[in-house]
């Protein structure tokens, strides 16, 4: 296997993502944790760009970096919950988390190893056309996603109404 620029970039991004993911869960400060999470999400977006799926990459950035992480940071700034992280963990809690982690590793490992991926998913060197994505998202034929799209929008509406209901003062 010859080393291409693509694979070098992939390895670098993947290593950075692994490092940041570990730091996300090991760091003591809540805000640092959110920042490392931001790096992981940006790394995911970079992987999409590497695969020439620019739409998903940009969506990843605008939804996660611009939306979710900002929301996290806002919530952390407004709530002052930094002290709870310094509390000592109980042994039972550590054990149960370890069991959950190992179980997750087994499930994911089994899925990845048993699933036969469609050959080498190498970038085709061609961007996926925006029109194709749009038509697939909005069409009601086979392999098109109008119904899930609308269902998700109803979910979001429910969240909005719920949020207003909780926040509203009588």
């Amino acid at each position: 296997m010859d080393i291409t620029l693509q694979s070098i970039v992939f390895v670098l991004v993947a290593l950075a993502m692994i490092l940041c993911s570990v730091l996300t869960v090991t760091t003591k400060s809540l805000l640092r944790s959110a920042t490392y999470l931001l790096f992981v999400l940006l790394g995911t977006a970079l992987l999409y760009f590497l695969l020439d799926y620019t739409f998903l990459g940009a969506a990843q950035i605008i939804v996660y970096a611009g939306g979710i992480v900002v929301l996290f940071v806002f919530a952390i700034l407004l709530t002052r919950s930094d002290k709870s992280l310094n509390a000592k963990l109980k042994v039972s809690k550590i054990l149960s988390s370890a069991v959950a982690a190992v179980a997750g590793l087994v499930v994911f490992g089994f899925c990845i190893l048993s699933h036969s991926f469609a050959g080498q998913i190498a970038p085709s060197g061609k961007e996926l056309d925006m029109k194709e994505v749009g038509i697939a998202l909005m069409g009601d034929g086979k392999f098109q996603y109008l119904l899930p799209f609308e269902a998700v929008s109803i979910l979001l509406l429910a969240c909005l109404i719920g949020g207003i209901l909780i926040a509203r003062k009588r």
Binding site: L5, S29, L31, R32, T35, A58, I61, A65, G66, V73
Partner: protein, 364 residues
């Protein structure tokens, strides 16, 4: 017909450089070296434009206030900004006690990263767009949202009340105005039928979008200018750094070049907002074309695209500076009311209007 437009096209040169580099080295290495050179060019251009914009801002501000502005250093104060840059480069970067150093030092880089990424999407010249995806405009909106994270982190990690309040205010403002910015863009994307920046510019070969889209395009243009001004944290929307109440907002505690990064990003964001407006509404590098008048179009084609682009961008920069030095600063509640109660309904209505006009073929 477009003889002269093709004459100025940069693409053949770029392809020639690429193919001759590939002749002597593997393609990956060639791409890497080209990327490196382009990155250096972008950063240089970024710095030079910042100097030009700061000088322009000081002069425009001075003339609006019946002053002369910087006059002592060099002819008409031309060297003043260089002196200031030199001064800021040799200043000490202060380390704060009891603050999160990692986040404190990271924040300016996040802000400048978002700014440079959007900066490199601008269509400088025919065939000279640096980042040109088929989702170009969406990419611009996406990466510009990283800036909010940088501002919030800067405000929090400085460990001061002024910076925290400043960061909160400007975070809330930027998140809100991103919506109407995006929807104004969406209306124009509906008109052009493409999101790619080069595609949008090429679709304006027979007239700029602001003439082709008439009423909805003008509404979108005005909304875009207001929202863009807010995104750049300037003009009547500069309450993040309301000097009287908050000293300097989220960058109060920064010194030296770290403060310089925020300052650079602010001015360059002004230019980026203008550049995107020039691209989407005024045709980017595309000369002024009127469908049907071929002789006139031919004459306009003699002026190279890069002149057109900078001309349009600086025209809008001047417009925004005019607004900044004319209007007083708004309060945070006024800003949020303007966005949520006026601009967003206008934008939604405008999007609908644009789509209806486009579907019935009522746009040019």
């Amino acid at each position: 017909m477009n003889g002269f437009l093709d004459y100025y096209n940069f693409k053949p040169v770029a392809e020639w450089i690429h193919s001759s580099l590939c002749g002597v080295m593997p393609e990956g290495l060639a791409l890497f070296l080209e990327g490196l050179v382009v990155a250096v060019v972008i950063i240089l251009l970024y710095a030079i434009l910042a100097i030009a914009l700061i000088y322009m801002e000081r002069k425009v501000c001075a003339f609006f206030q019946c002053r002369l502005g910087p006059m002592r250093v060099g002819k008409w104060g031309l060297l003043q900004v260089f002196a200031d840059v030199f001064k800021i480069l040799i200043k000490e970067i202060i380390k704060l006690k009891n603050s999160d150093h990692f986040l404190y030092e990271l924040a300016p880089y996040l802000v400048i990263l978002a700014s440079i990424l959007t900066f490199s999407c601008l269509p400088w010249h025919n065939g000279m767009g640096i980042i040109d995806f088929n989702i170009g405009i969406f990419f611009v909106l996406a990466v510009s949202s990283i800036e909010v994270v940088g501002i919030l982190l800067a405000g929090w990690s400085s460990n001061s009340k002024y910076t925290l309040i400043g960061a909160m205010r400007s975070g809330a403002m930027m998140i809100s105005y991103e919506l109407s910015l995006g929807m104004a863009m969406l209306a124009m994307v509906a008109l052009s039928g493409t999101m790619s920046i080069s595609g949008i510019v090429e679709s304006q070969a027979d007239g700029w979008n602001i003439f082709k889209g008439h009423i909805p395009a003008w509404i979108a243009f005005i909304v875009y200018l207001i929202a863009g001004n807010a995104e750049a944290n300037r003009g009547p929307f500069d309450l993040a750094e309301a000097e009287q109440e908050l000293t300097a907002g989220y960058h109060t505690e920064y010194s030296g070049m770290h403060f310089g990064f925020f300052y650079l990003a602010e001015y360059l964001n002004l230019f980026i907002v203008s550049g995107i407006a020039a691209t989407v509404f005024l045709g980017g590098w595309m000369p002024l074309h009127i469908a049907g008048l071929d002789a006139f179009n031919q004459v306009m084609d003699y002026i190279p695209g890069v002149v057109w682009f900078f001309g349009k961008a600086f025209l809008i920069v001047f417009l925004l500076m005019w607004i900044k030095w004319t209007f007083p600063r708004l309060r945070i509640d006024q800003i949020l009311t303007l966005e949520w109660k006026y601009l967003i309904p206008i934008c939604l209505f405008n999007l609908l209007l644009m789509v209806v006009l486009k579907v019935y073929g009522l746009v040019f």
